[in-house]
Amino acid sequence: MQVALVLGNAISTVKHRSLENVKLLVCQPLAADGRSRDGAPVIVADYMGAGAGEKVIITSDGAAVRELYGLENSPLRWTVMGLVDPSHNPTPPKSKKEAKR
Protein backbone atom coordinates (compact mmCIF):
# COMPACT_ATOMS: atom_id res chain seq x y z
CA MET A 1 0.00 0.00 0.00
CA GLN A 2 1.19 3.45 -0.76
CA VAL A 3 0.03 7.00 -0.31
CA ALA A 4 -0.80 8.69 -3.60
CA LEU A 5 -2.12 12.00 -4.77
CA VAL A 6 -5.09 11.99 -7.10
CA LEU A 7 -4.11 14.09 -10.09
CA GLY A 8 -7.28 13.58 -12.09
CA ASN A 9 -9.28 10.95 -13.82
CA ALA A 10 -9.26 8.98 -17.02
CA ILE A 11 -12.15 8.23 -19.33
CA SER A 12 -12.26 5.00 -21.24
CA THR A 13 -14.90 3.70 -23.60
CA VAL A 14 -13.30 0.46 -24.66
CA LYS A 15 -12.00 -1.46 -21.69
CA HIS A 16 -12.00 -4.84 -20.04
CA ARG A 17 -15.42 -5.93 -18.86
CA SER A 18 -14.29 -6.00 -15.23
CA LEU A 19 -13.55 -2.27 -15.43
CA GLU A 20 -17.05 -1.27 -16.49
CA ASN A 21 -18.77 1.14 -14.13
CA VAL A 22 -15.51 1.67 -12.33
CA LYS A 23 -14.05 5.13 -11.81
CA LEU A 24 -10.50 5.37 -13.07
CA LEU A 25 -8.20 7.83 -11.36
CA VAL A 26 -4.78 9.07 -12.33
CA CYS A 27 -2.81 8.86 -9.11
CA GLN A 28 0.72 9.93 -8.38
CA PRO A 29 2.41 7.69 -5.79
CA LEU A 30 4.19 9.72 -3.14
CA ALA A 31 7.37 9.07 -1.23
CA ALA A 32 7.65 8.72 2.53
CA ASP A 33 7.76 12.48 3.04
CA GLY A 34 4.25 12.74 1.63
CA ARG A 35 5.20 15.32 -0.97
CA SER A 36 7.83 14.17 -3.43
CA ARG A 37 6.83 11.98 -6.33
CA ASP A 38 7.68 8.30 -6.39
CA GLY A 39 7.66 7.05 -9.92
CA ALA A 40 5.25 7.65 -12.74
CA PRO A 41 1.50 8.11 -12.23
CA VAL A 42 -0.68 5.03 -12.39
CA ILE A 43 -4.27 4.28 -13.33
CA VAL A 44 -6.17 3.33 -10.17
CA ALA A 45 -9.66 1.89 -9.86
CA ASP A 46 -11.70 3.79 -7.33
CA TYR A 47 -14.63 2.33 -5.42
CA MET A 48 -14.41 4.96 -2.66
CA GLY A 49 -15.30 8.15 -4.47
CA ALA A 50 -12.01 9.98 -4.29
CA GLY A 51 -11.48 13.21 -6.22
CA ALA A 52 -8.67 15.26 -7.67
CA GLY A 53 -6.32 16.78 -5.10
CA GLU A 54 -7.04 14.21 -2.45
CA LYS A 55 -4.52 11.87 -0.95
CA VAL A 56 -5.49 8.26 -1.03
CA ILE A 57 -4.03 4.93 -0.05
CA ILE A 58 -3.67 2.61 -2.99
CA THR A 59 -2.81 -1.05 -3.07
CA SER A 60 -1.32 -3.15 -5.80
CA ASP A 61 -2.58 -6.47 -4.51
CA GLY A 62 -4.64 -7.63 -7.44
CA ALA A 63 -5.67 -10.91 -5.83
CA ALA A 64 -7.08 -9.14 -2.78
CA VAL A 65 -9.01 -6.70 -4.94
CA ARG A 66 -10.50 -9.48 -7.00
CA GLU A 67 -11.63 -11.23 -3.86
CA LEU A 68 -12.83 -8.07 -2.16
CA TYR A 69 -14.98 -6.82 -4.99
CA GLY A 70 -15.93 -10.19 -6.47
CA LEU A 71 -14.12 -9.67 -9.73
CA GLU A 72 -13.17 -12.62 -11.85
CA ASN A 73 -10.35 -12.72 -14.33
CA SER A 74 -9.69 -9.05 -13.92
CA PRO A 75 -6.40 -7.41 -14.84
CA LEU A 76 -7.10 -4.78 -12.19
CA ARG A 77 -4.30 -4.22 -9.76
CA TRP A 78 -4.10 -0.72 -8.34
CA THR A 79 -7.13 0.15 -6.28
CA VAL A 80 -8.01 2.89 -3.82
CA MET A 81 -8.28 1.34 -0.37
CA GLY A 82 -8.88 4.47 1.65
CA LEU A 83 -8.88 8.25 1.70
CA VAL A 84 -6.35 10.07 3.84
CA ASP A 85 -7.94 12.63 6.14
CA PRO A 86 -7.03 16.16 4.95
CA SER A 87 -6.18 17.21 8.52
CA HIS A 88 -3.45 14.62 8.64
CA ASN A 89 -0.19 16.24 7.65
CA PRO A 90 2.57 13.66 7.81
CA THR A 91 5.95 15.05 8.73
CA PRO A 92 8.96 13.68 6.95
CA PRO A 93 10.96 11.19 8.99
CA LYS A 94 13.97 12.69 10.67
CA SER A 95 17.38 11.23 10.35
CA LYS A 96 19.29 10.04 13.39
CA LYS A 97 21.57 13.08 13.36
CA GLU A 98 18.63 15.46 13.36
CA ALA A 99 16.93 13.52 16.13
CA LYS A 100 20.03 13.82 18.33
CA ARG A 101 20.14 17.60 17.86
Binding site: G8, H16, N73, S74
Partner: protein, 378 residues
Protein backbone atom coordinates in the same frame (compact mmCIF):
# COMPACT_ATOMS: atom_id res chain seq x y z
CA UNK B 1 59.79 -43.80 -66.78
CA UNK B 2 63.12 -45.61 -67.00
CA UNK B 3 63.88 -48.69 -64.82
CA UNK B 4 66.71 -46.88 -63.12
CA UNK B 5 64.50 -43.99 -62.19
CA UNK B 6 61.83 -46.41 -60.98
CA UNK B 7 64.29 -48.33 -58.79
CA UNK B 8 65.70 -45.07 -57.49
CA UNK B 9 62.23 -43.90 -56.61
CA UNK B 10 61.42 -47.23 -54.96
CA UNK B 11 64.60 -47.14 -52.89
CA UNK B 12 63.96 -43.63 -51.73
CA UNK B 13 60.44 -44.50 -50.62
CA UNK B 14 61.72 -47.53 -48.73
CA UNK B 15 64.35 -45.40 -47.05
CA UNK B 16 61.78 -42.88 -46.02
CA UNK B 17 59.56 -45.63 -44.73
CA UNK B 18 62.39 -47.16 -42.74
CA UNK B 19 63.34 -43.82 -41.21
CA UNK B 20 59.76 -43.20 -40.18
CA UNK B 21 59.53 -46.65 -38.64
CA UNK B 22 62.69 -46.10 -36.65
CA UNK B 23 61.59 -42.73 -35.39
CA UNK B 24 58.17 -43.97 -34.39
CA UNK B 25 59.66 -47.08 -32.82
CA UNK B 26 61.96 -44.92 -30.73
CA UNK B 27 59.10 -42.71 -29.66
CA UNK B 28 56.66 -45.54 -28.95
CA UNK B 29 58.56 -48.75 -28.36
CA UNK B 30 55.58 -50.75 -27.09
CA UNK B 31 53.06 -50.23 -29.84
CA UNK B 32 50.98 -53.32 -30.35
CA UNK B 33 51.32 -54.78 -33.77
CA UNK B 34 48.19 -55.01 -35.84
CA UNK B 35 47.03 -58.42 -36.82
CA UNK B 36 46.79 -57.57 -40.49
CA UNK B 37 48.33 -55.09 -42.87
CA UNK B 38 45.49 -53.55 -44.83
CA UNK B 39 47.73 -51.11 -46.66
CA UNK B 40 49.92 -53.80 -48.12
CA UNK B 41 47.21 -55.55 -50.08
CA UNK B 42 43.76 -54.37 -49.26
CA UNK B 43 42.15 -56.65 -51.78
CA UNK B 44 43.58 -59.88 -50.43
CA UNK B 45 44.02 -61.37 -47.01
CA UNK B 46 47.75 -61.87 -46.40
CA UNK B 47 47.27 -64.38 -43.65
CA UNK B 48 45.17 -66.60 -45.87
CA UNK B 49 47.76 -67.00 -48.59
CA UNK B 50 51.01 -65.22 -47.85
CA UNK B 51 52.83 -66.53 -50.86
CA UNK B 52 50.15 -65.74 -53.36
CA UNK B 53 51.30 -62.17 -53.79
CA UNK B 54 54.91 -61.92 -52.75
CA UNK B 55 55.32 -58.39 -53.92
CA UNK B 56 52.49 -57.30 -51.75
CA UNK B 57 53.70 -59.13 -48.67
CA UNK B 58 56.14 -56.96 -46.69
CA UNK B 59 57.88 -60.00 -45.28
CA UNK B 60 59.15 -60.76 -48.75
CA UNK B 61 61.10 -57.53 -48.77
CA UNK B 62 64.27 -57.96 -46.70
CA UNK B 63 64.74 -54.25 -46.25
CA UNK B 64 61.43 -54.01 -44.47
CA UNK B 65 61.71 -57.19 -42.49
CA UNK B 66 62.46 -55.44 -39.23
CA UNK B 67 59.04 -53.91 -39.17
CA UNK B 68 57.15 -56.18 -41.44
CA UNK B 69 54.22 -56.51 -39.11
CA UNK B 70 53.49 -52.81 -38.98
CA UNK B 71 53.24 -50.16 -41.59
CA UNK B 72 53.63 -46.41 -40.97
CA UNK B 73 49.99 -45.84 -41.68
CA UNK B 74 48.85 -48.34 -39.11
CA UNK B 75 51.26 -46.94 -36.54
CA UNK B 76 50.04 -43.44 -37.04
CA UNK B 77 46.49 -44.61 -36.74
CA UNK B 78 47.17 -46.43 -33.51
CA UNK B 79 49.03 -43.38 -32.19
CA UNK B 80 46.11 -41.15 -33.05
CA UNK B 81 43.77 -43.62 -31.45
CA UNK B 82 45.75 -43.39 -28.24
CA UNK B 83 45.89 -39.63 -28.08
CA UNK B 84 42.35 -38.90 -29.28
CA UNK B 85 40.09 -41.76 -28.32
CA UNK B 86 37.29 -42.48 -30.69
CA UNK B 87 34.76 -42.56 -27.88
CA UNK B 88 35.24 -40.13 -25.01
CA UNK B 89 32.73 -38.48 -22.74
CA UNK B 90 34.24 -35.03 -22.23
CA UNK B 91 36.53 -32.97 -24.39
CA UNK B 92 37.98 -29.51 -24.01
CA UNK B 93 38.39 -27.29 -27.06
CA UNK B 94 40.74 -24.43 -26.43
CA UNK B 95 39.65 -22.27 -29.34
CA UNK B 96 38.67 -18.61 -29.36
CA UNK B 97 35.76 -19.29 -31.67
CA UNK B 98 33.84 -22.55 -31.54
CA UNK B 99 32.62 -23.03 -35.06
CA UNK B 100 31.73 -25.94 -37.29
CA UNK B 101 35.31 -26.12 -38.48
CA UNK B 102 36.62 -26.54 -34.97
CA UNK B 103 33.98 -29.16 -34.25
CA UNK B 104 35.30 -31.40 -37.01
CA UNK B 105 38.04 -32.59 -34.65
CA UNK B 106 35.47 -33.83 -32.16
CA UNK B 107 35.47 -37.63 -32.23
CA UNK B 108 32.25 -39.53 -32.43
CA UNK B 109 30.78 -40.55 -29.12
CA UNK B 110 31.68 -37.32 -27.35
CA UNK B 111 28.96 -36.31 -24.97
CA UNK B 112 30.36 -33.16 -23.39
CA UNK B 113 32.49 -30.30 -24.67
CA UNK B 114 34.04 -27.57 -22.60
CA UNK B 115 35.26 -24.29 -23.97
CA UNK B 116 36.91 -21.33 -22.35
CA UNK B 117 34.79 -18.63 -20.84
CA UNK B 118 35.73 -16.10 -23.49
CA UNK B 119 35.14 -18.41 -26.41
CA UNK B 120 32.58 -17.34 -28.93
CA UNK B 121 30.17 -20.10 -29.90
CA UNK B 122 28.60 -19.63 -33.28
CA UNK B 123 24.90 -20.40 -33.76
CA UNK B 124 25.73 -23.04 -36.33
CA UNK B 125 27.95 -24.77 -33.81
CA UNK B 126 25.18 -24.65 -31.22
CA UNK B 127 22.76 -26.19 -33.68
CA UNK B 128 25.25 -28.88 -34.58
CA UNK B 129 25.85 -29.72 -30.91
CA UNK B 130 22.15 -29.80 -30.21
CA UNK B 131 21.58 -32.02 -33.20
CA UNK B 132 24.27 -34.44 -32.11
CA UNK B 133 23.10 -34.40 -28.51
CA UNK B 134 26.39 -33.05 -27.22
CA UNK B 135 26.33 -30.75 -24.23
CA UNK B 136 28.74 -27.86 -23.86
CA UNK B 137 29.83 -25.69 -21.00
CA UNK B 138 32.10 -22.77 -20.40
CA UNK B 139 34.93 -22.93 -17.94
CA UNK B 140 37.16 -20.20 -16.61
CA UNK B 141 40.37 -20.48 -14.65
CA UNK B 142 39.80 -19.59 -11.04
CA UNK B 143 42.12 -17.40 -9.03
CA UNK B 144 42.85 -20.12 -6.50
CA UNK B 145 44.19 -22.52 -9.10
CA UNK B 146 45.91 -20.59 -11.84
CA UNK B 147 48.74 -23.05 -12.21
CA UNK B 148 46.86 -26.26 -12.34
CA UNK B 149 44.53 -25.00 -14.98
CA UNK B 150 41.57 -26.52 -13.20
CA UNK B 151 38.45 -24.55 -13.47
CA UNK B 152 34.94 -24.37 -12.23
CA UNK B 153 32.00 -25.02 -14.42
CA UNK B 154 29.89 -21.93 -14.67
CA UNK B 155 26.81 -22.84 -16.51
CA UNK B 156 25.34 -25.79 -18.20
CA UNK B 157 22.36 -24.53 -20.13
CA UNK B 158 22.00 -27.37 -22.55
CA UNK B 159 24.42 -30.03 -21.56
CA UNK B 160 23.27 -33.08 -19.69
CA UNK B 161 25.87 -33.00 -16.95
CA UNK B 162 29.26 -31.68 -16.06
CA UNK B 163 32.39 -33.69 -15.62
CA UNK B 164 32.99 -35.19 -12.23
CA UNK B 165 36.35 -33.55 -11.72
CA UNK B 166 34.97 -30.12 -12.36
CA UNK B 167 32.03 -30.68 -10.07
CA UNK B 168 34.25 -31.90 -7.28
CA UNK B 169 36.52 -28.96 -7.68
CA UNK B 170 33.54 -26.64 -7.73
CA UNK B 171 32.36 -28.04 -4.45
CA UNK B 172 35.84 -27.78 -2.99
CA UNK B 173 36.22 -24.26 -4.22
CA UNK B 174 32.84 -23.27 -2.90
CA UNK B 175 33.77 -24.64 0.50
CA UNK B 176 36.93 -22.57 0.60
CA UNK B 177 35.49 -19.29 -0.61
CA UNK B 178 31.72 -19.46 -0.73
CA UNK B 179 30.31 -17.07 -3.29
CA UNK B 180 27.79 -14.46 -2.37
CA UNK B 181 24.24 -15.75 -2.42
CA UNK B 182 22.80 -12.74 -4.13
CA UNK B 183 24.52 -9.93 -5.90
CA UNK B 184 22.64 -6.68 -6.21
CA UNK B 185 23.64 -4.10 -8.73
CA UNK B 186 21.88 -1.55 -10.82
CA UNK B 187 21.87 1.78 -12.53
CA UNK B 188 19.73 3.79 -10.13
CA UNK B 189 21.25 6.03 -7.51
CA UNK B 190 18.95 5.10 -4.63
CA UNK B 191 20.26 1.58 -4.75
CA UNK B 192 22.51 2.22 -1.76
CA UNK B 193 19.48 2.52 0.49
CA UNK B 194 18.56 -1.05 -0.27
CA UNK B 195 21.73 -2.43 1.22
CA UNK B 196 20.49 -2.04 4.76
CA UNK B 197 17.16 -3.59 3.97
CA UNK B 198 18.72 -6.70 2.50
CA UNK B 199 20.60 -9.23 4.53
CA UNK B 200 24.14 -7.86 4.73
CA UNK B 201 25.73 -11.27 5.15
CA UNK B 202 24.29 -12.82 2.08
CA UNK B 203 24.06 -9.90 -0.26
CA UNK B 204 26.11 -6.93 -1.15
CA UNK B 205 25.63 -3.98 -3.40
CA UNK B 206 28.33 -4.52 -5.94
CA UNK B 207 28.46 -1.10 -7.48
CA UNK B 208 26.03 1.43 -8.80
CA UNK B 209 26.64 1.17 -12.50
CA UNK B 210 26.47 3.94 -15.02
CA UNK B 211 23.87 2.37 -17.24
CA UNK B 212 21.86 -0.78 -17.73
CA UNK B 213 24.45 -2.39 -19.96
CA UNK B 214 27.09 -2.06 -17.26
CA UNK B 215 24.71 -3.61 -14.76
CA UNK B 216 24.10 -6.50 -17.09
CA UNK B 217 27.81 -7.05 -17.53
CA UNK B 218 28.28 -7.05 -13.75
CA UNK B 219 25.52 -9.61 -13.37
CA UNK B 220 26.97 -11.83 -16.07
CA UNK B 221 30.40 -11.66 -14.51
CA UNK B 222 29.03 -12.52 -11.09
CA UNK B 223 27.08 -15.48 -12.40
CA UNK B 224 30.14 -16.75 -14.19
CA UNK B 225 32.11 -16.41 -10.97
CA UNK B 226 29.74 -18.73 -9.17
CA UNK B 227 27.13 -16.42 -7.68
CA UNK B 228 23.87 -18.33 -7.88
CA UNK B 229 21.63 -15.30 -8.28
CA UNK B 230 21.89 -11.62 -8.97
CA UNK B 231 19.51 -8.71 -8.98
CA UNK B 232 19.87 -5.74 -11.27
CA UNK B 233 17.74 -2.71 -10.66
CA UNK B 234 17.67 -1.12 -14.07
CA UNK B 235 15.90 1.70 -15.80
CA UNK B 236 14.82 -0.26 -18.83
CA UNK B 237 14.08 -3.76 -17.54
CA UNK B 238 12.56 -5.20 -20.67
CA UNK B 239 15.37 -4.07 -22.90
CA UNK B 240 17.88 -5.39 -20.39
CA UNK B 241 15.98 -8.67 -20.19
CA UNK B 242 16.16 -8.94 -23.95
CA UNK B 243 19.89 -8.45 -23.87
CA UNK B 244 20.36 -10.84 -20.96
CA UNK B 245 18.41 -13.58 -22.68
CA UNK B 246 21.04 -13.66 -25.41
CA UNK B 247 23.64 -14.78 -22.88
CA UNK B 248 23.57 -18.53 -22.33
CA UNK B 249 24.87 -18.15 -18.80
CA UNK B 250 21.89 -16.08 -17.71
CA UNK B 251 18.32 -17.07 -17.14
CA UNK B 252 16.75 -13.70 -16.54
CA UNK B 253 13.32 -12.73 -15.41
CA UNK B 254 11.62 -9.51 -14.44
CA UNK B 255 10.29 -9.02 -10.95
CA UNK B 256 7.96 -6.10 -10.54
CA UNK B 257 7.65 -6.21 -6.78
CA UNK B 258 10.11 -7.01 -4.07
CA UNK B 259 7.55 -9.28 -2.47
CA UNK B 260 7.67 -11.49 -5.55
CA UNK B 261 11.43 -11.78 -5.45
CA UNK B 262 11.61 -14.60 -2.92
CA UNK B 263 9.01 -16.60 -4.78
CA UNK B 264 10.81 -16.17 -8.07
CA UNK B 265 14.13 -17.23 -6.60
CA UNK B 266 12.53 -20.31 -5.04
CA UNK B 267 10.62 -21.34 -8.12
CA UNK B 268 13.21 -20.72 -10.76
CA UNK B 269 16.37 -20.98 -8.66
CA UNK B 270 17.96 -18.78 -11.21
CA UNK B 271 19.36 -15.36 -11.44
CA UNK B 272 16.80 -12.63 -11.76
CA UNK B 273 16.57 -9.16 -13.02
CA UNK B 274 14.27 -7.10 -10.92
CA UNK B 275 12.99 -3.60 -11.00
CA UNK B 276 11.03 -2.36 -8.05
CA UNK B 277 8.95 0.17 -9.91
CA UNK B 278 5.64 -1.49 -10.51
CA UNK B 279 4.25 -0.43 -13.81
CA UNK B 280 1.00 -2.26 -13.61
CA UNK B 281 -1.87 -0.15 -14.91
CA UNK B 282 0.54 2.46 -16.10
CA UNK B 283 -0.16 4.72 -19.00
CA UNK B 284 1.36 3.68 -22.28
CA UNK B 285 1.20 4.88 -25.83
CA UNK B 286 0.96 2.42 -28.69
CA UNK B 287 3.85 2.93 -31.07
CA UNK B 288 3.53 -0.05 -33.36
CA UNK B 289 2.49 -3.62 -33.88
CA UNK B 290 4.29 -6.89 -33.46
CA UNK B 291 3.99 -9.83 -35.86
CA UNK B 292 5.32 -13.21 -34.86
CA UNK B 293 6.78 -15.70 -37.27
CA UNK B 294 6.93 -18.56 -34.79
CA UNK B 295 5.23 -18.45 -31.43
CA UNK B 296 4.02 -20.44 -28.47
CA UNK B 297 0.86 -22.42 -29.24
CA UNK B 298 -1.10 -20.32 -26.77
CA UNK B 299 -0.20 -17.23 -28.79
CA UNK B 300 -2.24 -18.30 -31.81
CA UNK B 301 -4.48 -15.44 -32.82
CA UNK B 302 -2.74 -13.00 -30.54
CA UNK B 303 -2.80 -9.32 -31.40
CA UNK B 304 0.35 -7.76 -30.05
CA UNK B 305 1.17 -4.09 -29.89
CA UNK B 306 4.35 -2.24 -29.11
CA UNK B 307 3.92 0.44 -26.47
CA UNK B 308 6.11 2.80 -24.51
CA UNK B 309 5.37 4.49 -21.17
CA UNK B 310 4.29 8.12 -21.21
CA UNK B 311 3.38 8.57 -17.57
CA UNK B 312 6.41 10.72 -16.78
CA UNK B 313 5.72 13.06 -19.65
CA UNK B 314 2.13 13.55 -18.48
CA UNK B 315 3.27 15.08 -15.19
CA UNK B 316 6.04 17.11 -16.74
CA UNK B 317 8.83 14.84 -15.64
CA UNK B 318 11.86 13.92 -17.61
CA UNK B 319 11.17 10.70 -19.41
CA UNK B 320 13.79 8.05 -19.04
CA UNK B 321 15.11 6.01 -21.86
CA UNK B 322 12.07 4.62 -23.69
CA UNK B 323 11.56 1.03 -22.74
CA UNK B 324 9.07 -0.34 -25.17
CA UNK B 325 7.16 -3.45 -24.24
CA UNK B 326 4.94 -5.83 -26.15
CA UNK B 327 1.33 -5.71 -25.02
CA UNK B 328 -1.39 -8.27 -25.67
CA UNK B 329 -4.27 -6.30 -27.10
CA UNK B 330 -7.84 -7.56 -27.20
CA UNK B 331 -9.44 -4.14 -27.42
CA UNK B 332 -8.18 -3.04 -30.83
CA UNK B 333 -5.86 -0.18 -29.93
CA UNK B 334 -4.37 1.70 -32.85
CA UNK B 335 -0.99 3.30 -33.19
CA UNK B 336 -1.06 6.47 -31.12
CA UNK B 337 -3.70 5.24 -28.70
CA UNK B 338 -3.20 5.87 -25.00
CA UNK B 339 -3.77 2.65 -23.10
CA UNK B 340 -3.68 1.36 -19.55
CA UNK B 341 -1.43 -1.65 -19.37
CA UNK B 342 -1.72 -4.33 -16.72
CA UNK B 343 1.72 -5.73 -16.08
CA UNK B 344 2.93 -8.72 -14.16
CA UNK B 345 0.73 -11.50 -12.88
CA UNK B 346 -2.50 -9.64 -13.47
CA UNK B 347 -1.79 -9.58 -17.19
CA UNK B 348 -2.63 -13.27 -17.47
CA UNK B 349 -5.78 -13.04 -15.35
CA UNK B 350 -8.22 -12.39 -18.23
CA UNK B 351 -7.26 -15.70 -19.82
CA UNK B 352 -7.84 -17.88 -16.79
CA UNK B 353 -8.41 -20.78 -16.42
CA UNK B 354 -6.28 -21.02 -19.53
CA UNK B 355 -2.62 -20.43 -18.96
CA UNK B 356 -0.90 -17.97 -21.22
CA UNK B 357 2.58 -16.58 -20.79
CA UNK B 358 1.40 -12.99 -21.00
CA UNK B 359 3.20 -10.28 -19.10
CA UNK B 360 1.46 -7.13 -20.35
CA UNK B 361 -2.21 -6.75 -21.19
CA UNK B 362 -4.13 -3.82 -22.58
CA UNK B 363 -6.81 -3.21 -19.96
CA UNK B 364 -8.39 -0.07 -21.34
CA UNK B 365 -8.08 2.41 -24.17
CA UNK B 366 -8.06 5.82 -22.54
CA UNK B 367 -10.10 8.37 -24.48
CA UNK B 368 -9.29 11.26 -22.20
CA UNK B 369 -6.98 11.97 -19.29
CA UNK B 370 -7.92 14.89 -17.08
CA UNK B 371 -5.13 16.12 -14.85
CA UNK B 372 -5.48 19.23 -12.71
CA UNK B 373 -2.55 21.48 -13.61
CA UNK B 374 -2.29 23.07 -10.17
CA UNK B 375 -1.61 19.67 -8.64
CA UNK B 376 1.49 19.28 -10.75
CA UNK B 377 3.06 22.44 -9.34
CA UNK B 378 3.34 20.90 -5.88
Amino acid sequence: MSPSANSKLELSSIDIERIVREVLASVMPAIPAPSANPSANPSANPSANPSANPSANPSANPSAASSATTSPVSIVKSYAAETIPQSIDAMHLNVPVLSLDSLRSVPSGTKQITVSSTALVTPAAKDWLREKGIGWTRIIPTASSPDTGRSSVLSNPSGPSTSVASSEFLQKNSMETPPKRVLVTGSVLWLRTLEKQLCPKSSQIDQVQLDDASSLRAVAQAIRNGTPAAIAVVKAPHATLWQAARDEALRPSIVSQWSDLTEVLQEHSSESLGHPKDRSMHIFKVTGTVTLNRAHPTYQGAVLKLAEPIGESLVGGVANEPDSIVVWDELGADVGSIIAVADGGEAAQPFRPKLKPVDAYNSAILDEINIKPHLLKD
